[in-house]
Symmetry: C2
Subunit: 393 residues, 2 copies
């Protein structure tokens, strides 16, 4: 807690203003990538004065976070100076604690992994051994990478867990972790700020950054769902450009959506869950049916949340990527034809990054707050219905 009321929305002062704009500019610099942006383009994108952008970028350059990199072609006057993010200025650690393996990455500001380590892990063996392994791998990572300024470590685990409190709940197959304050324990061991989240959420966060890059700066990056089909079925939701966790980090529990009333019993006790139907189809080798079931679940989600695209991942999917992408896309296309809206196709694809998707995303748990606008409220919303409200006359 920062000190203000119980979860209350904080008021903003000058430092908050400064931080907001700095993060905004930093985010645009990141989105620009290798290509860079000029000051005037930043001014146009933020709505700030060129002079304000000059001041902000001067501070970022002084901190080593940004640098000048060549100039554009002249359009009749002084050519624009191109600014670029300096990716190596800071780093973050991403940790993926899976059931049998630990993946640890050291990522730069651009999210690119500069060092990766893998180690076997007995997750169900309990805290002490896991913490020791993590500590050793992180130390190796920091040493091998020289000694770059590390901002913190993001940790991705199988759910359920509480992101806000940093506490694990009863992970399936690893009951003894229930209630363990993993975030604080790790923060003490590593001497770094730590952020804990579900593996699917971390993956979605990492993918959000990639997609934002791909699609340009456009429109706050929109919304997508990352569906992960491995030994279970889960989802990570990015809504309106931001990861949606829900109040108790419970959002994205996609596996036990019921898509068949009174269907076969699922391990969770209910009937007709997507996960049960999907995995059963996989088990009997009927991948087409598995993809169709997954597609129906995805279509429900797309329609309910007005989502822009669907990304698939997880071991089971990766064993037959074309089959799943095709099957899910088929269902979505069928439903898009009948939709009342513009009927825009919702693209389906395999989540890039392969086996490292989650670890890369875990690093983003630390990096993401540096970029996008902290203070969601400070920025006048993107809608502004009509000529904006007349300033409380």
């Amino acid at each position: 807690m920062t000190g203000n009321g119980p979860g209350g929305n904080p008021g903003a002062n000058l430092p908050a203003l400064r931080g907001h704009n700095a993060a905004l500019v930093l985010g645009l610099l990141r989105a620009a990538g290798e290509q860079g942006v000029s000051r005037l383009e930043l001014a146009a994108a933020t709505g700030l004065t060129p002079q304000a952008v000059s001041k902000i970028t001067a501070r970022l350059r002084a901190d080593g976070l940004a640098g000048e990199a060549g100039r554009r072609a002249s359009t009749g006057g002084k050519p624009r100076t191109v600014l670029r993010l300096v990716p190596g200025a800071r780093h973050a650690i991403g940790l993926h604690l899976d059931r049998d393996e630990l993946t640890a990455v050291l990522a730069d500001l651009a999210g690119e992994p500069v060092a990766v380590r893998r180690a076997p892990l007995a997750f169900e063996a309990g805290a002490e051994r896991v913490l020791t392994t993590v500590e050793r791998e992180v130390a190796a990572l920091r040493e091998r990478a020289g000694g770059p300024l590390v901002l913190g470590a993001g940790v991705a685990c199988p759910g359920p867990l509480d992101h806000t409190a940093g506490v694990l709940h009863r992970v399936t197959g690893a009951p003894r972790w229930d209630g363990f304050p993993l975030r604080d324990a790790l923060a003490e061991r590593l001497g770094l700020p730590v952020v804990l989240d579900k593996d699917t959420n971390a993956a979605a966060l990492g993918l959000a950054q990639g997609i934002r890059e791909g699609a340009g700066t456009g429109e706050g990056a929109g919304s997508f769902a990352y569906l992960h089909l491995g030994t279970g079925l889960g989802a990570g939701l990015v809504l309106g450009g931001g990861l949606y966790r829900g109040a108790r980090t419970g959002a994205g529990e996609f596996g036990h959506q019921v898509v068949q009333l009174d269907g076969p019993v699922c391990g969770c006790g209910k009937r007709g869950c997507v996960e049960a139907l999907c995995l059963a189809a996989v088990a009997r080798g009927d991948l087409a049916e598995a993809a169709r079931v997954l597609g129906v679940g995805a279509a429900n989600l797309v329609e309910l949340l007005d989502i822009d695209r669907v990304l698939l991942g997880g071991r089971t999917v990766l064993e037959n990527p074309e089959g799943f992408v095709g099957g899910v896309a088929q269902v979505l296309a069928d439903r898009a034809r009948t939709r009342t809206g513009a009927g825009a196709e919702v693209p389906v694809s395999i989540a890039p990054g392969g086996a490292r998707t989650v670890a890369d995303g875990a690093a983003q748990l630390v990096l993401a707050p540096l970029f996008g606008p902290r203070h969601p409220g400070l920025a006048a919303r993107a809608d502004v219905p009509q000529a904006s409200m007349p300033d409380v006359p």
Copy 2:
């Protein structure tokens, strides 16, 4: 568009800062209701200095939006002065354009309707007659209520439509409205700013305010779903305290969630939609089954989005409220038992407000931006993981 980049997130300057804090304080004043809040309590809730709160409230008082109202009991020193919102300082108009009826309310800042009018409406008859009727009713409302400062009009219609552009799409049964720029047309006729949204969204927004009141200031009001079962089935989603619309105002399309693979054909062309199953059960008099189907859909939603509560409304529900509330609650309770999380019960209740829910909510389309942190998309923060990032060291 405000002038900055294409949908880009705007930078913040001093006026934005001022507006943010003013809205924040105004929101807390509204939440306090009749009871009022002291300056120091506002300072604690916002994290601002008492002196800053004094300045902000002084401005609000000068604008007539807030006023002093008595004092608290002393705790050994000077007693605190209680501040209250002045509800009558401004007003907003809420319009519910239903298929056969127009409901128009004039609401004060607290959202309380101070005047209500109803008129028959032939929605499918097309724009000209509808606009004329609306203009007449609004004029009557403004005249009868004296001449209070009216901020604008919120308009709630059956979907689908585009909230951002203010344009209707192909409303079922009223094809000739497709593409009509209702917001701008009404804005010109009425000489007021106009905001357009789906009826379910307006209802959810209005209910969000009521719930926020009920639950105290707690936690940004959390999340809930409003399920509307009338001639169709739709939903309004409030996530993280803010109404979630999706990029194309398509969020909340709940009726055509598939809950029975290869179930009976629905009017939309798909099979096994909740709406079809639910309405079919209603038609054959099996209300228990209708409630159960609705409950399964609600449970999917609760689990996927980590929602705090479910509110039911709409004509069909209101004909048998206890039956639906009980049936839905039953399904949710069954599933809560098997849930891995804390298993907190998700309460189910009838949405208060009865037939005026949507019109009241429509007024909130105008009022909501004045209060509390505007929610751009979702930007779900409220986390700030650990000691907050060390300020980009």
